[in-house]
Every structure is written in structure tokens, then in C-alpha cells.
């Protein structure tokens, strides 16, 4: 069980995390979605005890991470964004060290290390050092280090960053399997597809604040059954806003001289009317795209920016 309440982390005048609060129950995957620099890693650092929150509270299986760090950390597994591996040691030695650091010993430790190596599909390469691994294999070993002690809570900070699609799919399977065992998972990412595919509930974070939170269905409902239409060209924002406002079931998300973004219900049918309105308002059109409702649409609706910006 993860409980985060009013979490705030401030460095001088810079507020990195501002009043973040959420929870994730047993066996649930909670996604924290946001662009780079939004505050995801700082949130995870506060939750793992690496950073002391300026304000707010984090409880891991009921234990406060600041006041009961040892009890909380005992239940916690962390898979950081960067690969935290000893490149010259074998995969088995890496796992053995982490298992011992988390308190495992003797036969139990050896059995558990073998079991995790098999679980992540690296048993046949257990004697090789990570420096001889591919990027995807390193990511799987990194994941294995975080779960070798069978934590009740798992914090995953963009664990698929920079891996190929096949390895990503395999890692996501591992995360699902971990949740199926009853582990509460916090998963941060800026890949929307991952969040949609994996998480039971999620929150969108930007500039340190949660701007939306709920299940995938709830978040989609916030967007409505509307497609995202993006038109590139040359426009006069002052003229096109009132022109587009007259269209039914549509909302201008952003409008500047080079592009216009709208949320439109049934865009395929409404597209001619949209283009006509833009042309009538003096716009010169070069390119048009539209996508189905997604978290990206929601993020754009809420922030006016694309998630990967």
C-alpha cells in the first residue's frame, strides 16, 4: 500500500513537487505521467527516503518514510531511471549484493537470486557482467535488483527509458506479473501508451503539481469523446478563435500563428467545417492530422503542450 499526502519538495525558491497526493492499493499499478522535469523523479526520491520532503507525508505499508525509515524501506523496492548496476560484477553478484543489502542470507538468498534471474530471463547469462549485456538485458537486470527481496511496494522510475520495443514489452510483462503477486507499484513514465496499457489508475503531473488523476476511463471522460485535430499553417489567432467557437462540440486547445489544436467530437465528419472556418478566418493551411481521444489529448487540454516537449 502506497499513501502519499500533500507531498512538497522545495529547493530554495524552486518548488519541484507541490502538494502531490495519491494512493495505490495492494496489487495495483499507479502511473505517474508527465514530461521531463515535471517532478516525477523527485516524487520517487522522496518516497524512497533519498530526499527529505519539505512538507507532506509518504507511507509505505503504513510506515512513514521519514519517521520509520527502516520499516518502510524494508518493504520497498526501487528501480531507478539510470542503470544502477556494478558493470564489472556478474549479474549474479549484483543480485547477491542487493539481496544481502536487503537482509537476505544463506540458502534463501541463493535460491532467491536464481529464481529472480530465471524470472527476468537472465539465468543463462548469470555469470556475465552487465557490460556484456544489451540495453534491454541491463534494464531487466536493473528491474531484478529492485525486486530480488520481494518488496511489497515497488517504485519504478521510467524503467523502459531507451529500450527497444521488444524489451519494453517484456519489462511491462514483468511489472504486471509483479503486481499480480500483490505488490503495489508506482510507475512513472512519459510514454502515454505504457501508462494506458499498464496502469489501473494514474495521475498527470506538470511543474510539480498533479493536474489530473483517476482511472483511465475517468481521465478519458475528462477529454470527452473528442478527437484531437491539429492544423499547421499560418493563422491570425485573434480571428480564428471566434470563427472556431461557432463549431458544435469543439474546443480550441491552443492557437498561435503556426498551428491550431482543437478537441472535436467526430472529427472525421467535422473536418471540412473546421478547415472551412479556418480558411474563412484568413488562415493558410498546410497540414492536418487528427488522433483519437487519449491521455495525450487530455495533457494538451490541460497544459496546452505536448507531453514530450
Amino acid at each position: 500500500m502506497i499513501e502519499v499526502d500533500g507531498l512538497r519538495k522545495q529547493y530554495g525558491d524552486l518548488v519541484a513537487v507541490d502538494g502531490v497526493g495519491f494512493s495505490a492499493g495492494e496489487g495495483k499499478i499507479f502511473g505517474l505521467l508527465g514530461p521531463n522535469g515535471a517532478g516525477k523523479s523527485t516524487t520517487i526520491s522522496c518516497m524512497s527516503g533519498l530526499l527529505t520532503p519539505t512538507d507532506g507525508r509518504v507511507r509505505i505499508m503504513g510506515h512513514d518514510i521519514v519517521h520509520e525509515p527502516r520499516a518502510a524501506k524494508q518493504q520497498l523496492g526501487v528501480v531507478p531511471q539510470e542503470l544502477a548496476l556494478y558493470e564489472d560484477l556478474s549479474a549474479r553478484d549484483n543480485l547477491t549484493y542487493w539481496a544481502a543489502a536487503y537482509g537476505l542470507s544463506g540458502t534463501g538468498l541463493r535460491d532467491r537470486v536464481d529464481s529472480v534471474l530465471e524470472y527476468v530471463g537472465l539465468l543463462d547469462r548469470a555469470s556475465d557482467p552487465p557490460k556484456a549485456y544489451s540495453g534491454g538485458m541491463k534494464r531487466r537486470l536493473n528491474f531484478a535488483c529492485g525486486v530480488v527481496h520481494e518488496p511489497k511496494v515497488l517504485l519504478l522510475d521510467e524503467p523502459t527509458a531507451g529500450v527497444d520495443p521488444q524489451s519494453r514489452a517484456r519489462l511491462l510483462d514483468l511489472v504486471r506479473a509483479q503486481a499480480a503477486k500483490g505488490t503495489s507499484v508506482l510507475y512513472t513514465t512519459h510514454y502515454m501508451e505504457e501508462a494506458q496499457e499498464l496502469c489501473d489508475s494514474l495521475a498527470i503531473i506538470d511543474h510539480g503539481k498533479l493536474i489530473a488523476m483517476g482511472t483511465l476511463a475517468e481521465l478519458r471522460a475528462m477529454v470527452g469523446e473528442r478527437d484531437l485535430v491539429r492544423v499547421v499553417g499560418h493563422f491570425d489567432p485573434e480571428r480564428i478563435r471566434p470563427a472556431l467557437a461557432e463549431l458544435p462540440d469543439s474546443e480550441v486547445l491552443t492557437a498561435d500563428q503556426d498551428s491550431v489544436m482543437l478537441a472535436v467530437k467526430g472529427a472525421a465528419l467535422q473536418l471540412p467545417a473546421v478547415l472551412q472556418a479556418l480558411a474563412a478566418a484568413g488562415g493558410h493551411l498546410r497540414e492536418t492530422t487528427f488522433t483519437e481521444p487519449s491521455l495525450e489529448t487530455l495533457f494538451m487540454k490541460l497544459t496546452g503542450r505536448e507531453l514530450r516537449e
Binding site: 526520491s45 524512497s48 533519498l50 527502516r70 531507478p80 564489472d88 543489502a101 527481496h149
Partner: protein, 443 residues
């Protein structure tokens, strides 16, 4: 509360990680082997140069305008002091003439006379001679000669010039009484030195013994310093790597900073001690091999220094290790960490500057003061004990150890706080005032 089990886990990991590295194995076993190889090479080089100098007689031309040498025939060696029949008898017996005292005898140069400069020059160009000298008319008054040779460095040519001087010297020595010649050749042939101790007892002072008495402690101090710097270097390097690859962030989710610090100090300290033991074992083995020389020189193994050295090494290691780790934890890259720890490395080596003072007066004021300052105490005390094992009183030794132990305890406490702040300070490095504030507040 610090968990011993966590410390042991980190210590075991650090120890095994470092002793398995090629760098450690090389520095532990390879360094002494390399020094041995260096010694052998230097010896071989010396012999090689010697053989180049002595390898066969070189012909040296002489144009004698002053008429001071008789070179109507080639002349090799000088046996001027021995009667012809004696000289003949010695040569026919096969015994070296050198065995019979300070006779200027040399066989590595043949002197060949030439009538004029052109003739000598032709001989030089045809490589008949390695060089030639012109002894001018005013040589006796001026003492100057002119030497001609092909451009370039040549040891045989230099030796020939020196032998030319010896030959001329022998020519002139024939003009003084025989009993004075030896004193002119070698005015002080033997120096017998004596040492008078505080009780007025006179005993022979052996140069070899003196060299060993100062050399062994000097080597001992040097090995101690190298060991200290190497071991603390492992500490700093390990921390730098873990901070750089972010392993420490995960480690901190399982282990407290103080446990990591203690584990690193113990594990890498053990690796350092193992290295020191190997090095000292090799030094002792070498000393045992050279026991004949050592015994003759009246030098005993510095047992007291070894015991004191082990104790002070541990204290110094924990003292410097804690401070260096504390500072190094603020670096975010290898380079930055090396810079932060570098100051302490220099400070640890400062006592080497005072080594001549300590050697001159092991129990003087400077040596005593240095023994009480924690940064200089380990080397100063070790130097004093190694130089004069019985001269340093137990109270003196205890006082130094107490001061160093207290400082080490404080360094461990403060170092652990710095280490905690440093490891947790991800991103921008905190300002000094903030570090000081947090170090005071940290529990």
C-alpha cells in the same frame, strides 16, 4: 541505531570487489615485482656501461710537443713503482697487480705517439684511435691539453682522457720521493669513524650500519604513506563510481548512509591492510635474505615500529578515510570527487617534508609537536619509533595515540554526517554554510 549486519554486507562486498580487481592485484604483487625488476635492470645497465668502458683496450693518440711522455712505443698501463723483475713475476703468475696496493695500473687504454697533428688526425678519421691529445709546449706551466675526437658521446674516449691524466700524473710522481707518492695519489685512503654516546663510550661507527639504520625507517615510512594513500584512494574511487552510476541511490533505499560509510571503511581498510601485509612481508623476506649484511651492520628488524605502525595505520586510515569519504560524497563525478579528496591526500603527505628534521632529532620539539597533530601524527610517530625504537617513551607514544584516537572518533562522527548530507544532496551541491548547519543538526 547502526546495524552490524548491514555494515558487514557492505564491507564484504567492498573487500571482495576491490581485491578481485586487476589494479589491486597488480599494485599488491606487481609493484614490488616491478621494483625488483627495476633494481635488476639498473644493475644490468651499470654492468653494461662498465663493460662498455672496460671492454677491450682503446687506443688514444698523443702528440707530445712538451716532451713529457715517452711514447716511442705504444704504452698500455703504468707499472712505474715496481721493479721490472717483480712486475714480470706478478704478470707471469697471473695475479692482478692491483692486489699489491695503490699502483696506478690500467690496461683499458693504449697510448700511441704521433709526430704531428695531421698524422694524429688521419689516425682519428681512420678510427685507429678513439681520440687524441695534443700536449702543448707550455703544458708544464699551463696544465692545459687539447683533445680531438669525432663528434658524439663515447665512454671509452672519456676513460682514455682520464687515463691520460693518470699517466701524466705518474710521470710527474717519478720526480718526488717514493714514500710521498702514495699520499699524493690518495691522501686519505682510509677513514675510521667512531661514535661517542652520552655516557662517553666510544664505539666504531659503521657507514653501512648507519645507512641501514636510516634507510630502513625511511623505507618503512614511505611504504606506510603509499599504503595509506592507496587505501584511502580505493575509498574515494569507489564512492565516486557509485555516485556517478547512481548505484548509491538504490543502496540508500536499503542501507543507512552511516552503515555504508562504516562498511566501506571496514571493507576497504581490510583490503588496504592486506596489501600492507603483503608489502611488509616482501620487505621482511628481502631483509631476511640480506640478513648477513644486516647482522654485520648491527641492525635488528624494527619490531616495535611494525607494531606501532599497524596501530597507527588503522587509526590514520579511519581518520583520513572518514574525512575523505565525507568530502568525496559531495562530488557528482570521478573528477569532482578526486578534487574534493585531493586536498587531504596532500595533507597526509606533508610530514614527509619534515622527515629530515625528524631524522635529525627524533625526539625534538618539532617531532613531538608533529606527533600530537592528528594530520601529521601517524607518520611522525612511525618515523620516531623506527629511527629510535627505545628512545620514544611510552607516555609520549600513548599521548600521541590518545590524540589521534580522539581525532579519529570526531572525524568518524563528522565524516558520517558529511557523507549522509553528500549522498543525499542530489543535483546542486549545497553551500558550505548549509553543510555546516546540517552537519550540526544531523542525528
Amino acid at each position: 541505531m547502526i546495524r552490524r549486519r548491514q555494515i558487514f554486507t557492505v564491507a564484504e562486498f567492498e573487500f571482495l570487489s576491490i581485491v578481485r580487481t586487476k589494479g589491486y592485484v597488480f599494485s599488491t604483487l606487481g609493484l614490488p615485482a616491478m621494483l625488483l625488476l627495476y633494481g635488476l635492470f639498473a644493475g644490468w645497465l651499470g654492468e653494461s656501461l662498465k663493460s662498455q668502458i672496460e671492454g677491450g683496450a682503446k687506443v688514444f693518440g698523443v702528440v707530445d710537443r712538451a716532451g713529457v711522455v715517452d711514447l716511442r712505443q705504444d704504452q698500455q698501463g703504468t707499472l712505474l713503482d715496481l721493479p721490472a723483475e717483480v712486475r714480470g713475476a706478478i704478470e707471469s703468475s697471473g695475479v692482478g697487480v692491483e692486489a699489491f696496493g695503490p699502483v696506478a695500473y690500467f690496461t683499458d687504454t693504449v697510448f700511441r705517439g704521433f709526430d704531428d697533428l695531421d698524422e694524429a688526425k688521419a689516425a682519428l678519421l681512420s678510427e685507429e684511435v678513439v681520440a687524441f691529445a695534443v700536449v702543448p709546449d707550455d703544458f708544464v706551466a699551463a696544465g692545459a691539453i687539447d683533445v680531438y675526437s669525432i663528434d658524439g658521446f663515447s665512454l671509452p674516449r672519456r676513460t682514455a682522457r682520464e687515463n691520460m691524466a693518470k699517466m701524466l700524473q705518474e710521470q710527474f710522481l717519478q720526480q718526488v720521493p717514493a714514500e710521498v707518492r702514495d699520499r699524493i695519489r690518495d691522501p686519505v685512503s682510509t677513514t675510521r669513524e667512531w661514535v661517542v654516546d652520552a655516557a662517553g663510550v666510544v664505539s666504531p661507527d659503521d657507514v653501512a650500519a648507519r645507512i641501514l639504520r636510516f634507510g630502513v625507517p625511511g623505507a618503512f615510512i614511505l611504504v606506510f604513506l603509499i599504503s595509506l594513500l592507496t587505501t584511502t584512494g580505493y575509498l574515494v574511487q569507489g564512492t565516486a563510481t557509485e555516485k556517478e552510476n547512481r548505484v548509491v541511490e538504490v543502496l540508500l533505499s536499503a542501507t543507512a548512509p552511516e552503515e555504508i560509510l562504516a562498511g566501506k571503511l571496514v571493507g576497504l581498510g581490510a583490503a588496504g591492510l592486506l596489501q600492507v601485509l603483503v608489502w611488509f612481508s616482501m620487505v621482511i623476506a628481502a631483509a631476511v635474505l640480506a640478513a648477513g649484511v644486516a647482522m654485520a651492520a648491527g641492525v635488528a628488524l624494527p619490531v616495535k615500529a611494525l607494531v606501532v605502525g599497524a596501530v597507527f595505520f588503522l587509526a590514520a586510515y579511519f581518520f583520513y578515510g572518514a574525512i575523505m569519504l565525507g568530502c568525496a560524497s559531495f562530488g557528482s563525478s570521478q573528477l569532482e570527487v578526486q578534487k574534493l579528496a585531493g586536498f587531504w591526500t596532500i595533507l597526509a603527505a606533508v610530514p614527509m617534508m619534515f622527515l629530515p628534521v625528524i631524522m635529525n632529532a627524533p625526539h625534538g620539539t618539532v617531532a613531538r609537536v608533529l606527533s600530537l597533530v592528528p594530520f601529521t601524527a601517524p607518520l611522525a610517530v612511525l618515523g620516531r619509533v623506527a629511527l629510535d625504537p627505545e628512545g620514544m617513551a611510552w607516555w609520549d607514544l600513548s599521548l600521541s595515540l590518545a590524540a589521534l584516537t580522539l581525532s579519529t572518533w570526531l572525524a568518524l562522527r563528522f565524516g558520517a554526517r558529511l557523507f549522509r548530507i553528500g549522498l543525499l544532496a542530489m543535483g546542486s551541491r549545497p553551500k558550505l554554510r548549509e553543510i555546516w548547519r546540517q552537519a550540526r543538526l544531523a542525528k
